[in-house]
């Protein structure tokens, strides 16, 4: 479903080159739920932006659902859902309901399908109480649920999430985790999730990838991950050891 082959992206910053991602290769099969970890500045967001075609890779190839994102961006958009936790993709000045209606037209979802999906999402994400409120007036948790719904109205095969639980309280977090788990289990949606909250990883992801300095430092199951430090039982400790360990490489 997602395929990276020696993909790289560098940025020119005042004459020097910053390699945000380099020589990154991995494959994610349909239906997988993958956690994507890495310290700040490791290149997670950059990878995600390449996956949805926002950034053109400077080397290597990227394929999502068989398409090259930067060339077939608008075609791919129908098959992929994206949520940026730090920034909404909704229209700031419009009520949530209007945003959804616009999305229906942009993605050409027919009216009946849209109604069913929206009703379902409204119930599972509990949007009912604020669906008429302009996005700028929503609280962070409300907005995040709105963003999630917006990313799923066209029933994408792949969902990529960049820190979707950032800044949420324990109850909202649990709600969103639950929702994602069911989405993956019931619909078979492929999910790639970046987060700094290891609780997300423990509860959701069968597979974990860890990236540092733009390169893959670990790829395996959650069990494999814990096995890298047999003397530790706390995932925080395990991961922080990997971060500092590979940081010197």
């Amino acid at each position: 479903m997602i395929e990276l082959d020696r993909a790289g992206r560098s940025f020119k910053v005042r004459r020097s080159l910053v390699h945000a991602v380099r020589d990154l290769s991995f494959t994610i099969a349909p239906g997988e739920f993958v956690g994507y970890l890495g310290p700040n500045g490791a290149g997670k967001s950059t990878t995600i932006k390449m996956l949805c075609g926002i950034l053109t890779p400077t080397s290597g190839t990227v394929r999502v659902a068989g398409l090259e994102p930067s060339r077939r961006r608008t075609t791919l958009a129908r098959r992929i859902g994206v949520v940026f936790g730090q920034r909404t993709t909704l229209w700031w000045d419009l009520p949530l309901a209007d945003s959804f209606e616009l999305i229906r037209h942009l993605y050409k979802v027919d009216r009946n399908t849209f109604r069913t999906r929206l009703d379902e999402l409204t119930t599972t994400l509990d949007l009912g109480s604020f669906i008429r409120t302009p996005v700028r007036q929503l609280s962070l948790g409300q907005r995040m649920r709105g963003d999630l719904a917006a990313a799923l109205l066209h029933a994408p095969d792949v969902l990529v999430l960049d820190e979707p639980t950032i800044g949420l309280d324990v109850v909202s977090k649990a709600g969103i985790r639950d929702f994602l788990k069911r989405l993956n289990a019931e619909r078979g949606t492929t999910v790639l999730l970046t987060t700094h909250d290891l609780g997300d990883i423990e509860r959701l992801c069968r597979r974990v990838m860890l990236i540092d300095h733009g390169q893959l430092a670990f790829d395996g199951t959650l069990g494999d991950l814990m096995a890298t430090a047999p003397d530790q039982s706390d995932i925080e400790e395990v991961v922080s050891r990997l971060y500092t360990g590979s940081g010197t490489a």
């Binding site: 940025f11 932006k49 950034l55 053109t56 075609t75 920034r87 209606e101 616009l102 942009l106 050409k108």
Partner: protein, 262 residues
């Protein structure tokens, strides 16, 4: 594409309708601003009967024709010059995750129908000029052609300016020299300008095809700079060339887009 444009524009119109007073005020002010341009022309002609060999009504005709094109573009396309604003605010990513061309989304972004007033004003001036000028009937077909051509040229120009902002993110106002400069240039017969300048806006940036070359045909006049007759009909070809250039530039701009760090 048109229906999608209408849908997006309509959504923003409804958002704008939440502030009716502001909407009315901006509409009126838009009309006043453009009317002052007409006032300047009228004042000039209060002092003279011809300017570079053109009468007041002929100048109003050229002004009106370019005015309609420009005002339509201002209404429908000009939002694209907020590329750099979006890049700096980090909101540009959003345009790239939708299954619709980013160009369409940007041109409708915060669409505000209050600019419609300017279109009406320009239509009135053009209508007046056509009514009083006693034009040859067989040449009138060119008027709608030139308005559309002008619209396309301005739209392409605006797109180029928007595309340039991917590179010149910190100096978005540089583009105004082309868009608003183009508007200013086309308000008067090009006969008032220097030959080299006119050559530039004929063969390099084809502003002369907005209203000047086709306008000469409608008015049944020769070009004071002596360009051959067939040039009067090259507008659509020039517009097409500019559209291709603009499309390429936009595409390149998107490819070079680097998003923001967070």
């Amino acid at each position: 594409m048109v229906s999608l444009y209408a849908r997006l524009a309509w959504t923003w119109t409804r958002a704008a309708a939440a502030y009716p007073a502001s909407f009315a005020l901006m509409t009126v002010l838009g009309i006043i601003t453009t009317t002052l341009d007409v006032a300047v022309i009228l004042i000039v002609f209060a002092n003279t009967t011809t300017l570079a060999g053109f009468s007041r009504d002929e100048v109003l005709f050229l002004y009106g024709a370019a005015g309609v094109s420009f005002a339509l573009c201002d209404l429908l396309v000009s939002n694209i010059d907020r590329v750099s604003q979006h890049i700096k605010a980090g909101t540009f990513d959003t345009f790239l995750i939708r299954p619709v061309s980013s160009w369409l989304q940007l041109t409708t972004d915060r669409f505000n129908p209050n600019r419609l007033g300017r279109v009406l004003q320009a239509v009135l001036v053009l209508g007046y000029a056509v009514a009083v000028l006693d034009l040859e009937g067989r040449r009138l077909w060119m008027i709608p052609v030139m308005v559309v051509t002008g619209f396309v040229i301005f739209a392409a120009l605006w797109t180029l300016v928007g595309a340039a902002q991917f590179l010149l993110t910190d100096a978005p106002e540089l583009g105004n020299a082309f868009t608003y400069g183009g508007q200013q240039l086309t308000q008067y017969p090009l006969a008032v300008y220097a030959r080299d300048l006119v050559k530039g806006v004929t063969y390099v940036l084809p502003m002369a095809f907005v209203n000047w070359q086709p306008g000469l045909y409608v008015l049944g006049r020769d070009d004071p700079f002596g360009t051959p007759e067939f040039m009067r009909f090259l507008g659509p070809a020039a517009a097409l060339a500019l559209v291709l250039a603009a499309g390429l530039a936009w595409r390149q701009g998107i490819r070079h887009y680097r998003s923001t760090g967070s």
